[in-house]
Symmetry: C2
């Protein structure tokens, strides 16, 4: 029994994992309309962070909606539960010492606030990708806005459901005005200022 | 638009994350009765892997039941959903390039089989911690067996619900006969043979 207690004292902690990875761990939470460019920007940023030797992971529709959250629909309750679970998984990744990027519309202030409250104050960085609805509709990378206009898709954020803009995001990206490179630079500058990257 | 496509081509993949971490990623799935010593062993192994410079994360009751799965009870359906979600999260950690250890009773063969099928064939290592019920009851580290005997706790694995032993686990630990050090050595030997650790 005393042997068990000794082992428990040597548990691997978040602090130890951070030491191994040589950088802080936190959530980069991208939020914005469908077609705003969240995923493209998150992917580009992850590539840049990887080049700089950081341990990252990206949560997005591809790896969440077909896996952990495949039991959820798109009604209000399901959308809330969707974001809750993503927040809890993001917290686990922060605890594991990684930088986790998330790219989900996450339209409700309350839900984003709940995720923020799961981690420490300096571990949640909200990145508001602010692209005008008209631009998102023109891009329509997944053809979803067309489906909405054709009546094939309901409860769509920005059309039927309001997107609640972040009131005070850590990083603000006006995505119709600037290039991906410029936007990445804005984020990297913030992360450097806060001593969050090497 | 062409710029976006270029960015997508440089996505950070599982292979790239594995390159950065310099070891393979996989699940070490500990299964066994309550009090069998799963958590103690998983913790001890994680410490050892950390010492050897591996990037690990441990999923257990402490970080799952109070977070991601706090909406779940202990009825049959909830227990199945509990393991399903843990499996999906484990898959995400494998995709992130980490070695993920899990310590849950996970009493049903079908559920463990589902988790196994989520990852590649060589990425799921089932570790059966086989401790006789009578020994688990004597240890009773959380006082749960006493509660069961006093009628305060129902549906308890090994007492009311059958624990379905793994038929062909990758690693078999007879935990009443050997010390923690010896058991860790058994696991490390297996991982070395399979070229899964540095």
């Amino acid at each position: 029994m005393s042997k068990n207690i000794v082992w428990h004292e040597t548990n691997v902690t978040k602090e130890k994992r951070i030491l191994l990875k040589k950088h802080k761990s936190y959530v980069l939470w991208f939020t914005g309309l469908s077609g705003s460019g969240k995923s493209t920007l998150a992917n580009a940023l992850e590539s840049k962070l990887y080049e700089l030797g950081h341990h990252t992971y990206l949560l997005d529709g591809d790896n969440i909606r077909h896996g952990l959250n495949k039991d959820l629909g798109f009604d209000k309750d399901s959308r809330v539960e969707n974001i809750r679970r993503i927040g809890e998984v993001a917290k686990l990744f922060v605890d594991s010492g990684s930088i986790v990027l998330t790219a989900f519309i996450s339209p409700f202030i309350t839900d984003r606030q709940i995720v923020r409250s799961l981690v420490q104050e300096n571990e949640f960085i909200e990145i508001f990708v602010d692209t005008p609805l008209v631009v998102c509709e023109q891009r329509d990378p997944k053809g979803l806005y067309k489906k909405v206009r054709d009546g094939e898709l309901k409860n769509f954020t920005g059309v039927d459901i309001e997107y609640e803009k972040p009131l005070n995001p850590e990083i603000y990206i006006e995505n119709s005005q600037t290039s991906i490179d410029e936007n990445i630079q804005i984020i990297l500058t913030y992360l450097k200022q806060k001593d969050l990257i090497k």
